[in-house]
């Protein structure tokens, strides 16, 4: 397919690998923020191809993974409530809360459904006028225009039975939190290309200057990822720390103005707890007052207060999400915790680091991934 195949060319990827290896005088520590990029790096064996030149630390960029357990429990309670349908992206239905997942709520007589788009949830509300439809909205800035648009469309159609449970998160405050940690090892960032498609990258300038880290806006295909890593290594080797855009076909400096305007109309920035990072100042979004009737927390406020928060003490997702341990350092990895029977979100989500390590066979002491074969 156009704009995919060219950026998956194994020969070009191989030349970029050689170039990076020649450029690196030592092992540089680079964090990819986005979970989609984590999967791309592992799927194509880039982490192994660059071993010794670059150590890739996986960032907290899996919105499903950082969603607090309290929100999942709340969604499960709503799904079990008579007359209510909870709709969300597929991964979100499988993530375990204190007492099972949305899928389990569905099996036990509730109603939880997968949708591809928040706009599909609006259609669901139109088709089911006698039911309350709650869209469990997870995602970074990339996904927010879609949910904001769903709210605006629902408002325009004067829907009384549509609301969203917002678990949206912002990337930049999390990056700041990681850099501010006294134990931080990250020397450069691959910034998430689709987040920056919406937000632009001007805001990153202050972060790069203050912490002296290169921040390179990077796409998702192997050639894109290697281009981003080469730019990081080149800057690190020459003592520079700039914000550079290596995903120019999608990202403009100012981002997508229309999308930002749509988001601004509906949401405002708020502090938010992230699993693994604690309360992140300015780390999330809540609905503006003018749209509170579309806020599930406002509509179903009485449901939220009754739930005890338990959590699974065996899951070390917090340490994985903040880059403190690799998934394989967890004693439960691949034994007590697998994608079929997950203890925590990073083993469930298609962007979770634990799921990536499991899927691409990064078991301790084993190398099983074809290096840059270009195969899916």
């Amino acid at each position: 397919m156009k704009y995919l195949d060219e950026f998956r060319d194994p020969k070009l990827a191989g030349r970029l690998v050689d170039r990076i290896r020649r450029a690196a005088s030592r092992t540089w520590v680079i964090m990819e923020v986005c979970g989609g990029q984590t999967h791309g790096l592992l799927r194509h064996g880039i982490d192994e191809a660059l071993a010794g030149a670059v150590e890739l630390i996986h960032g907290p960029g899996c919105p499903v993974c950082v969603t607090p357990i309290e929100s999942i429990d709340f969604a499960c309670e709503l799904a079990k409530r008579p007359g209510t349908i909870v709709a969300s992206f597929g991964d979100m239905l499988r993530v375990p809360g204190s007492n099972g997942s949305l899928n389990r709520s569905h099996q036990e007589g509730g109603d939880a459904r997968i949708v591809y788009s928040p706009l599909d949830a609006v259609e669901l509300a139109i088709r089911n006028p006698d039911r309350d439809v709650v869209f469990f909205a997870v995602g970074f800035e990339t996904t927010m225009p879609a949910t904001a648009l769903a709210v605006l469309q629902a408002a325009d159609r004067k829907l009384q039975n549509f609301s969203i449970l917002s678990a949206h998160v912002r990337v930049l405050p999390a990056m700041r939190g990681i850099l501010s940690d006294p134990g931080n090892r990250v020397q450069a960032f691959l910034a998430a290309g689709h987040v920056c498609t919406i937000t632009g990258y001007r805001e990153y300038g202050e972060l790069a200057a203050r912490f002296g880290v290169p921040i390179v806006v990077t796409g998702f295909e192997p050639v894109d990822l290697l281009e981003g890593i080469l730019e990081c290594v080149t800057q690190l080797e020459t003592g520079r720390h700039c914000v550079t855009n290596r995903y120019e076909r999608s990202v403009r400096a100012e981002g997508n103005r229309e999308a930002r305007e749509i988001v601004d109309r509906v949401y405002e920035v708020a502090d938010r707890p992230w699993r693994g990072l604690g309360i992140v100042p300015g780390g999330g979004f809540v609905l503006r007052r003018a749209y509170e009737q579309f806020d599930a927390r406002w509509r179903f406020g009485s449901v939220a207060t009754e739930l005890p928060v338990l959590g699974d003490v065996r899951c070390r997702s917090g340490e994985v999400l903040s880059g403190r341990i690799r998934p394989t350092e967890c004693a439960e990895f691949g034994e007590g915790c697998t994608p079929d029977s997950p203890l925590g979100a990073p083993m469930v989500s298609s962007e979770g680091a634990c799921a990536a390590y499991f899927r691409y066979s990064r078991f301790p002491g084993q190398i099983a991934c074809p290096v840059l074969s270009g195969q899916e």
Binding site: M1, L4, R19, V64, S117, H194, S349, S350
Partner: protein, 85 residues
């Protein structure tokens, strides 16, 4: 979650700003996608679609430039370790 897929805009379904929708072709698959965030798009353009909405119009010139730069990778001056910088 932030998965975005490139596709080609083939026909308009709705042109009201808030409900703007077009059919987008992804290889052999076709799907209606919101165009509310990319008002500049025209039929034949490529867009990146995430969660049912187009989040950017692909800048074809920028894509060509990136690929041309990469094609001449071996002629680029090397910076870093072996270049002695």
């Amino acid at each position: 979650m932030c998965l975005g897929v490139p596709g080609k805009v083939v026909s308009w379904i709705n042109r009201e700003p808030l409900f703007a929708t077009a059919d987008v072709e992804f290889g052999t698959i076709r799907r209606a996608c919101s165009m509310a965030c990319v008002p500049e798009v025209e039929i034949g353009d490529f867009v990146i679609v995430h969660a049912g909405i187009a989040i950017s119009r692909i800048d074809e010139e920028a894509a060509r430039r990136t690929l041309a730069d990469l094609a001449s990778l071996d002629e680029r001056p090397e910076e870093g370790f072996e270049a002695g910088t």
